[in-house]
């Protein structure tokens, strides 16, 4: 087994990479620790050296997905130019990001299902969406302040924008052929931006 000494960070990465691969194909429950062991090329003991349980691995994956999403969001928000352009960029990049994750998406739905029963996961998801919502609201408010948009409730618009996008992902997961993620997301966004300009809300 290819195992020499490696930095702890690299080992954790190695394990989480393997775990995401396995979980994406089998789901959290059908996936056995042995699958992660095999996929990672490490030993059972090594996995448990770095993560104290299967649940800990799942939690770490949640963290990882979120930090990537936050990264993407921050990158986009730190740009300049008209807010509507930046929103278009955000949607475009999010769509592409989502498409690139593809097999990890079902994991997210497992998380939503788990959220109902696992305090810890629920809290993590709540924090994630709360942050996302407030950052998006701030961006929209920027547009309102600059006169680009009519005076609207930025927080409400942020909420329905996120809902729109998350809903599209859901429909896309169910039937990828019937939803063109990027195109349909942009189409929804256009409606939203138009309403922001005209001030319906």
């Amino acid at each position: 087994m290819g195992t020499k000494k490696e930095s702890p960070e690299r080992r954790k990465t190695q394990i989480l990479d393997a775990a995401m691969e396995v979980f994406a194909h089998l789901g959290f429950h059908k996936a056995r620790m042995d699958d992660i062991v095999q996929e990672s090329g490490l030993s059972k003991g090594a996995i448990y050296w770095y993560f104290k349980s299967k649940d800990a691995i799942i939690a770490a994956i949640l963290d990882r997905i979120f930090s990537r999403e936050h990264q993407a969001l921050n990158d986009t928000l730190s740009q300049t130019g008209p807010v509507s352009d930046r929103l278009v960029n955000l949607v475009r990049q999010s769509a592409q990001h989502t498409l690139s994750l593809e097999f990890s998406i079902p994991l997210m739905f497992e998380f939503y299902a788990l959220a109902a029963r696992h305090e810890q996961i629920r809290t993590a998801l709540q924090r994630y969406y709360a942050t996302y919502r407030s950052k998006l609201a701030r961006l929209i408010q920027e547009g309102v302040d600059s006169g680009e948009f009519a005076p609207v409730d930025a927080d409400k618009v942020a909420l329905s924008s996120i809902a729109s996008f998350e809903g599209l992902i859901l429909l896309w997961v169910v039937d990828p052929e019937k939803v063109t993620l990027e195109e349909d997301a942009l189409s929804s966004l256009r409606t939203i931006i138009d309403s922001l300009r005209r001030g319906v809300d």
Copy 2:
């Protein structure tokens, strides 16, 4: 144990009621057949007499949820009056219906997660959303034909309407305190109806 002679249909109903209760609280995987046995008040053998496996029960629950949703959709669509009013009614009733299900909603997310790996479940979900989308598109088209709405791509609007609503449900499941399902859904709908009238899309 409640074991009078009962009609097969009633027995199945009894089992599915118990199963939904159990699945809602524990999730598909943590729930054991013994939990369903206990909740239903029947015996292990009786459960297996009516359903050949745990998966068969899960599939039957999916069917049940969908047929209830279709029922609700059809009721709403068969009304008369301005399309926008009927859309508002639809959203209102859907929101209330969703709120009343409350504990079953996490089950839906388990289904979305399963969809990625289970042909049968994926197909069932696809059929459900395809039907929903086409019926909603027909309703919107009605509004276009009657001149109530500007000429738009009814199918696209149907898609983003459904996405909006499903996305809101997701956010509501994650953090019920931050989303007022009915109000926020109506708020999104207003934006959509407005754009339908003005013809942006």
Copy 3:
């Protein structure tokens, strides 16, 4: 596998017989549930149907050993005649009983070791010895009351009698060739009876 339906009591007996056999040869810790499964001729599931854990089996064995000992003690005490004769009978029968258990004796020492850490086992052992001591004291007191013995502290004598016997068992377990359980126990008893008659204590 010889398994048809059997009465629950018979099944439990079957399992405990197997467990004692296995524990006696391997000790509580080295013995695996699979050993009990094999020895009992039942399946893993059957074992767990009747006992919820390995510890539960151990506890049940403790109970079984104790109830057998109490049985033997009661039989002896309910006899008539001079107390010293009955004490001799008691020691004789206890010695023979111990010899017949032979392989179960090491189990007792595991219990003494466990007692330090397991509340439940400690309590069971305490109750057992407290009962034994009080019954024996009552018997000795009978001899005092009838004038067969000098007035002594019956409880103290009971304690040292039990200690004598238990200590001999210990030494016999360690080195069976150097201790003739019955003979040496009777020898110690004679010293005790003599002191009871003369009233030294």
Copy 4:
């Protein structure tokens, strides 16, 4: 980590001290090598450098306990004066020694249990008790020879004296509140000394 250069003997002592502490609290089986590692302040590798296995540590502890006991016994026997006084001293010191060990006592019972299955441990225990018995017999014989005691079988008396004391320890371990080790041991000893003087046996 305490890792100055130390003499091998001191390292072994350090490890055995830690091991006894850990074993006393957790028992041989529940105690993990990692517990000893932590308690000792050394590293895993260091432990295995000085002891080839967990069993080797257990064996070393047995040795240590025995050599301490022999030490105590020899100290007592090398005194002068009436044998009965020296026996009283022996019991007093043994009782105090036992009380001071307190938490290590359950270890002894683990050894008795192990003895049934482990040749090596059985032999060690046999040697220990044989030595103890013969030394004690010699002491008693001294009393017989000097006319302090009646002519008795010194070896038999030695055996029942040891049994008495070990049995008391057992009962004390099980229920410390019901046995006053020193007092009750002296009480038993008095009976024995009395019978030695009068010559009952």
